[in-house]
Amino acid sequence: MTLFPVTIHHYLILSALLFCLGFIGIIIRRNLLIILMCLEVMLNAVNLTFVALARYYLQEDGHIITLFVMAIAAVEAAIGLGIVLTLFRNKESVRTDRFTAMKG
């Protein structure tokens, strides 16, 4: 539809939407793995922002940053899953409402 051409705003709104959805997902879900997945969603939303703006300002620096974010996300996912494994070994559950040792 050339009536409503896709502008930078479309991409930015999309990424904002994805970010908020990911955040809400973290708050709502109790399963630790789902929480981690929502975290990945948030990071991807940020990636989308960077790439869109790189396209808008015609600078590949946005791509570089996206590259770095991906690398960090990978490391973080690895470590996070390692922690989930250790937690599962000790507590026999991945539900966050079992981990209330910090209560009070």
């Binding site: 955040f23 973290i26 708050i27 709502i28 966050t96 981990f99 209330t100 040792a101 910090m102 209560k103």
Partner: protein, 651 residues
């Protein structure tokens, strides 16, 4: 006015004695036998002796140089420097002060020497000597004050020392209570004194002076010059000052502390409650005679209260059995006579009577002390008697003092009391006071003779295990000296019919105190003299007869007039009235309202515990937010982020 620096030493020497002796007293509690009683005695008596010698020097200077109005050591310490006035401390010795100094330091020295013997075996000896010196320091500050404020410092100080010395044996709760009672009643008087000071100060402060000057508004000469400023409030000021004097000099209604104050050692009673502290009230009124003259209303009240006090105290003394209590009521009665003299305007007569009274009353107390010590602390006269055989010297001394207080010539008491009565009679409006005062003089002779006869004459009624002997010479020599003074000081104030009234002339020099002449004829004077002497002799012989020959009459009288007798014996139940009216409500209020409700309930409960409770409550309620759930914390993150971002945008 001449500046003399040595007069500063007169109060400072006893103060130095106090400091040294209190160090000795403190050392003594740590190690026994470190300090010797001789050192303490030497320090104490020596400092007072030197004060006495310096007072004699001051007297000599004033005596030989009539043009000198006063010796002063002015303004050696400045306390406040306000816009128009300054308040500073200084000392002043004029003719009136000089007389006071002589007998305060003189009698004080004799009593110090007596105490060396009396308190020899007491473990708190150094403390006693220290307090005695401190008392002398404050008394000297009081009489040497050049302004009302310095006088007030001395005033408070003697009250403090009186408390310290009355409750000297404070391990006995009765004695401690007596000390407390003395201090509290004194305080009531002090409160009135303070109000008088405040009113005086405010009268001067509201005066706008054109040029700022550094005048000391409480200085006596300043007050004398500017007394007209105080005229609108003069009645209130003088009345409040008189209430202060009432508290200090044990007049009705604040006389209740003096009989209880006999719980202290006998030399203390002699010094403080006979010769010096209780005369501070008389001193105050006489000093400020220029203010009191402006307020005839207050003078009326002073005369009325004085004569009533004299009468009632004499009545009570007739029925008491404790030797020291009889002497205490006798003191109250004589002070009442002094205030009567002040009230009729005869200021120099009051001073004369105060002067002679100091000697014979101190002598009476010291004799009583010798008797008490000889009979191993027996104070009830019903268990004494027949001491004439074993203690002849004390008996003679006591006889001399009794005759003096009864007003028999040629002892000093006659001259001062007679002058007092004559001057009261000469003022027509005080006629009834004269007859009452005359009757009181008769009562005085009566109960003093009763005391003498019961203690010294007749059969021995004390336990046979006591062997009363004469006290050691450290105690008898002061007695002898006091007796000599009692014989001699009367001649300082000879009435016009006999000769020159030296004291009146002396006091009028430098316009210290105004004096009165009766303005009556010689025959009238002789008539009044005969009346007073005759009355005293009659009472004396009546008492002698009643208590030696017709010993059976007094018990019959007691049973027949039982109610009246009981009332008088129980001191007209004034102590019980005060207990009911004042002490109990205050105690109840303090205990139940102030302590339980306010202190425990409000301050402890609301402020102290309430703070803790509030902290715990808020902490606990906030801890509900810490669930330990990851999701909740993530939500808080979101919330915080949103809030911060929106706030930043809105700013």
């Amino acid at each position: 006015m001449q500046n003399m620096n040595f007069i500063l030493l007169i109060p400072l020497l006893p103060l130095a004695g106090f400091c040294l002796n209190s160090i000795m007293a403190l050392l003594q509690t740590k190690q026994k036998e470190v300090t010797s009683q001789i050192t303490v005695s030497r320090i104490a008596c020596g400092s007072v002796l030197f004060s006495f010698l310096l007072s004699c020097a001051a007297f000599f200077i004033l005596f030989t140089e009539p043009h000198v109005a006063a010796l002063q050591y002015p303004a050696f310490l400045e306390w406040m420097a306000l816009e128009h006035f300054s308040i500073s401390f200084g000392f002043l010795i004029d003719h009136f002060t000089c007389i006071m100094l002589l007998f305060i330091t003189g009698v004080g020295f004799l009593i110090h020497v007596y105490s060396v013997g009396y308190m020899k075996k007491d473990p708190g000896y150094s403390r006693y000597m220290a307090f005695l010196n401190l008392f002398l320091f404050f008394m000297l500050v009081l009489v040497m004050a050049d302004s009302l404020l310095v006088l007030f410092i001395g005033w408070e100080g003697v009250g403090l020392c009186s408390y310290l010395l009355i409750s000297f044996w404070f391990t006995d709760s009765e004695k401690a209570k007596a000390g407390k009672k003395a201090f509290v009643v004194n305080r009531i008087g002090d409160f009135a004194f303070l109000i008088a000071l405040f009113i005086t100060g405010s009268c001067f402060f509201s005066l706008q002076s054109e040029t700022p000057s550094a005048e000391n508004i409480f200085h006596f000469s300043y007050l004398a010059k500017n007394a007209s400023v105080l005229i609108p409030h003069i009645t209130l000021i003088t009345f409040c000052l008189f209430i202060g004097a009432t508290g200090k000099s044990a007049q009705i209604p604040l006389h209740i502390w003096l009989p209880d104050a006999m719980a202290g050692p006998t030399p203390v009673s002699a010094l403080i409650h006979a010769a010096t502290m209780v005369t501070a009230g008389v001193y105050l009124v006489a000093r400020l005679h220029f203010l009191f003259i402006l307020s005839p209303f207050t003078l009326n009240i002073i005369a009325c209260l004085g004569v009533l006090t004299a009468f009632f105290a004499a009545l009570i003394a007739c029925t008491q059995y404790d030797i020291k209590k009889i002497l205490a009521y006798s003191t109250i009665s004589q002070l009442g006579l002094m205030f009567l003299a002040l009230g009729v305007g005869a200021f120099s007569t009051a001073i004369f009577h105060m002067f002679t009274h100091a000697f014979f009353k101190a002598g009476l107390f010291l004799c009583a002390g010798s008797v008490i010590m000889a009979l191993h602390h027996e104070q009830d006269i019903r268990h004494m008697g027949g001491l004439k055989k074993t203690m002849p010297l004390t008996t003679l001394m006591f006889l001399i003092f009794t005759l003096a207080i009864s007003g028999i010539p040629p002892f000093s008491g006659f001259f001062s009391k007679d002058e007092l009565l004559t001057l009261v009679h000469s003022q027509a409006q005080y006629a009834s006071y004269y007859w009452l005062a005359l009757f009181t003089a008769g009562l005085t002779a009566f109960y003093m003779t009763r005391l003498f006869v019961t203690v010294f004459l007749g059969q021995a009624r004390f336990a046979t295990t006591c062997q009363p002997q004469e006290p050691p010479s450290s105690m008898t020599i002061p007695l002898i000296l006091l007796a000599l003074f009692t014989l001699g000081t009367g001649f300082l104030g000879l009435p016009p019919v006999f000769g020159h009234h030296w004291l009146q002339g002396w006091l009028q020099q430098g316009s210290s105190v105004t004096a009165h002449t009766a303005g009556i004829t010689t025959t009238q004077e002789f008539f009044l003299m005969g009346l007073s002497v005759g009355g005293s002799l009659f009472a004396l012989s009546l008492a002698y007869v009643l208590y030696t020959k017709k010993a059976g009459l007094t018990p019959k009288f007691k049973t027949s007039a039982k109610n009246v007798y009981t009332l008088v014996f129980q001191k007209f139940k004034i102590d019980e009235c005060y207990e009911f009216l004042f002490v109990r409500p205050i105690k109840f209020f303090s205990e139940h309202i102030l302590n339980k409700n306010i202190d425990q309930g409000l301050i402890d409960g609301l402020f102290v515990n309430g703070m803790a409770f509030a902290a715990r409550f808020f902490g606990r309620s906030l801890s509900f937010a810490q669930t330990g759930l990851l999701n909740n914390y993530a939500f808080y993150l979101l919330l915080g982020l949103t809030v911060v971002l929106i706030t930043v945008v809105l700013m």
